[in-house]
């Protein structure tokens, strides 16, 4: 079933009152892969998950999970899915073990198999010590892991994880990630929603970016980064006091402004990743008599892609470090007082959205 599409959404729309939560969403997830549904708060991620998990009906469009229509046969769909939702959907007054056994029993697993499976999952998620404590005393990370365990009770072939790590500290997040990665090798199909680009980058085979109820990008993490074309050029200079000349030489080749680090030794700028760019930059710097230690054309992070696609507002920082600009008007070297200019948090360009 390797080529099978385990999740399929076609033209889904859904309106809640005045809010158009989904305005025609299409995506699909092949068996055994993880799709990251990425978008800011209110983009429509949760609505899409609610439709696919039979909690909500679409106003129009079609959706199928494991080949079963979610509107026509919701009961059948429920036999094939595991859901870890965003809100607390476990019983705070039951123990961790009781919660898992309840899910198993309500899924017709029978009492004894439910108990055995619960014990297995509690051990797997390192919750055995807390298994017989009431959920109220669980930390956020423990609750999320139990949520994940509950979703896995019936060994479902399709898993929906709605923002599984929102609000978790980095350590807990890592542990949830590990658990999700382990599922990968087992052929489970996963739809993961997240606000964290890092999470989608780390876990997902493909990423669908949604905003305002629409899919605005769809591809592998690498494809999305390439499609945004916003590569970053970083140059380290061999000698001090050459940054003004270097910036002047680079300016005609870059897309934005040239940032200079505090010590005047490192320059960075956004560029269009055209073939031979590095060669051109080295030649220009050489012609200006600047000695270069290192040059790197770095692919954009998913953050760059995401913000350019969703039109997210990026603070215009480090004004005082700008000594050159893309139109070639080189200015005097006035390396500013703040650090920055390291290319990680520097300027990001307005990019055209990638539509596929």
């Amino acid at each position: 079933m390797a080529d099978e599409l385990m999740i399929r959404a076609e033209g889904l729309t859904k309106r809640y009152g005045d809010t158009q939560a989904l305005a025609g969403v299409d995506f699909s997830v092949p068996a055994g892969t993880i799709l990251g549904l990425l978008g800011p708060n209110g983009a429509g991620k949760t609505t899409a998950v609610r439709i696919l998990t039979t909690l909500a009906r679409p106003d129009s469009g079609r959706a199928a999970v494991a080949g079963i229509d979610v509107v026509k046969h919701p009961g059948e769909v429920r036999r094939h899915i595991g859901v870890a939702a965003q809100d607390a959907t476990l019983d705070p007054l039951l123990t961790g073990r009781q919660n898992l056994v309840l899910v198993g029993e309500l899924s017709d697993m029978g009492r004894a198999p439910s108990r055995a499976r619960a014990a297995e999952l509690l051990a797997q998620f390192e919750l055995t010590d807390a298994a017989d404590r009431v959920l109220k005393g669980y930390s956020g990370g423990m609750r999320r892991r139990l949520d994940l365990a509950a979703a896995l009770m019936t060994r479902p072939p399709v898993l929906f994880l709605d923002e599984p790590t929102t609000g978790l500290d980095p350590t807990s997040r890592q542990r949830v990630w590990e658990a999700i990665r382990e599922l990968l090798g087992e052929g489970v199909t996963v739809l993961l929603t997240t606000q964290y680009l890092e999470e989608a980058d780390a876990l997902a085979h493909r990423i669908v970016v949604v905003d305002h109820g629409k899919v605005i990008a769809n591809g592998t993490p690498t494809e999305l980064k390439e499609a945004s074309r916003s590569a970053r050029l970083e140059v380290s200079l061999a000698a001090p006091d050459s940054e003004a000349r270097a910036a002047g030489a680079m300016a005609p080749l870059v897309a934005g402004r040239v940032h200079v680090s505090e010590d005047g030794r490192r320059l960075s700028a956004g560029v269009d990743a055209v073939p031979g760019l590095a060669t051109a930059v080295v030649r220009a710097l050489d012609a200006a008599g600047v000695l270069v230690d290192n040059i790197e054309v770095r692919q954009p992070s998913l953050d760059d892609v995401f913000f350019s696609l969703t039109g997210g507002h990026i603070e215009d920082e480090d004004e005082d470090e700008v000594i050159g600009s893309g139109d070639g008007a080189a200015a005097a070297a006035t390396a500013g007082g703040s650090d920055g200019g390291d290319g990680e948090s520097g300027d990001r360009h307005e990019l055209e959205g990638v539509r596929t």
Partner: protein
């Protein structure tokens, strides 16, 4: 984290074990047990069915016991116990409204709705748990009553029939409470249902005092209050003093029949209505 998670799902293409009916029953039983655990872990709910009955029985017997003379004579303790039982069971159905409202607001219902369970088990399991706690409450009231001097004057079958009459009525009320809980904006507003509806319902009746002492208009209300019929019917079945038997209102002359009619009518009306509200609340 070493366990193998095979995609060859247990759930895939598997029919309901033991068929539709058995599957539904096991869902109801699982939900019933869940709600019983809740009652055991919520101090408020637990005290409603354990401490409150003892407290009410002792307080009313010793505080009002000497001050109230029954029309037609008889022991006030014997008169009071049916009323105490009704008061406890009627006010405890508030737990149903609060519990359902809490489930809806905490996202728990969403979890249940993604499981291949019989959906109405959420409602039926709740009412079964409430029925079982009613039994516990009735037992505690009965034992406390015996301790403070209540003595039924009828055979065992008839006494059990008296308990059954009150419990049936309380069960009917849980479906009204379910309707309230399913429409409440919050668990807190569901709780206010108890004070606004259940307490007047329990007190504007012959549960604590005979209606003969009430002002005329209130007396009329009290005599047609189903709680009065339930209390009077229970007193008849227990062989305890029942001054209401001398009244003219039809439910007072036929309290057992009236109680059963009230209970059955409430269930017939409120249970389908609760199912309807539940569907509406959980459809989007």
């Amino acid at each position: 984290m070493t366990t193998t998670l095979t995609p060859t799902s247990v759930g895939l293409d598997r029919p309901r074990s033991g068929g539709l009916v058995f599957g539904s029953l096991s869902d109801i039983w699982a939900m019933t047990r869940r709600n019983l655990v809740h009652i055991a872990r919520e101090p408020m709910q637990l005290s409603d069915v354990t401490i409150q009955p003892v407290l009410f029985t002792v307080l009313f017997v010793y505080i009002f016991g000497g001050a109230i003379a029954l029309p037609g004579g008889g022991s006030y303790v014997d008169y009071l116990l049916a009323g105490i039982l009704a008061l406890n069971l009627v006010t405890s159905v508030m737990g149903t409204a609060v519990g359902l409202s809490t489930d809806l607001h905490e996202g728990m219902i969403d979890r249940f709705r993604t499981l291949p369970m019989w959906r109405s088990a959420v409602l039926v399991g709740r009412s079964m748990a409430d029925l079982l706690t009613s039994l516990l409450c009735a037992l505690i009231v009965g034992l406390t009553g015996l301790a403070v001097g209540w003595r039924p004057g009828a055979n065992d079958i008839s006494v059990l029939g008296g308990f059954a009459l009150v419990i049936l009525f309380a069960y009917a009320l849980t479906w009204i409470a379910a309707c309230v809980g399913l429409n409440a904006k919050s668990p807190e507003s569901a709780a206010s249902f108890g004070f606004i509806v259940l307490f007047p319902l329990a007190f504007v009746s012959n549960a604590m005092v005979p209606t003969q002492h009430m002002p005329g208009w209130l007396q009329a209300v009290a005599e047609w209050n189903p709680v009065s019929a339930v209390c009077a019917g229970t007193r008849v079945l227990w062989g305890n003093p029942n001054p209401a038997g001398a009244l003219h209102a039809w439910p007072m002359r036929h309290p057992i029949e009236a109680s059963v009619i009230w209970s059955v009518a409430l269930i017939a009306l409120a249970a389908p209505l609760a199912a309807h509200f539940f569907r509406r609340r959980t459809t989007e």
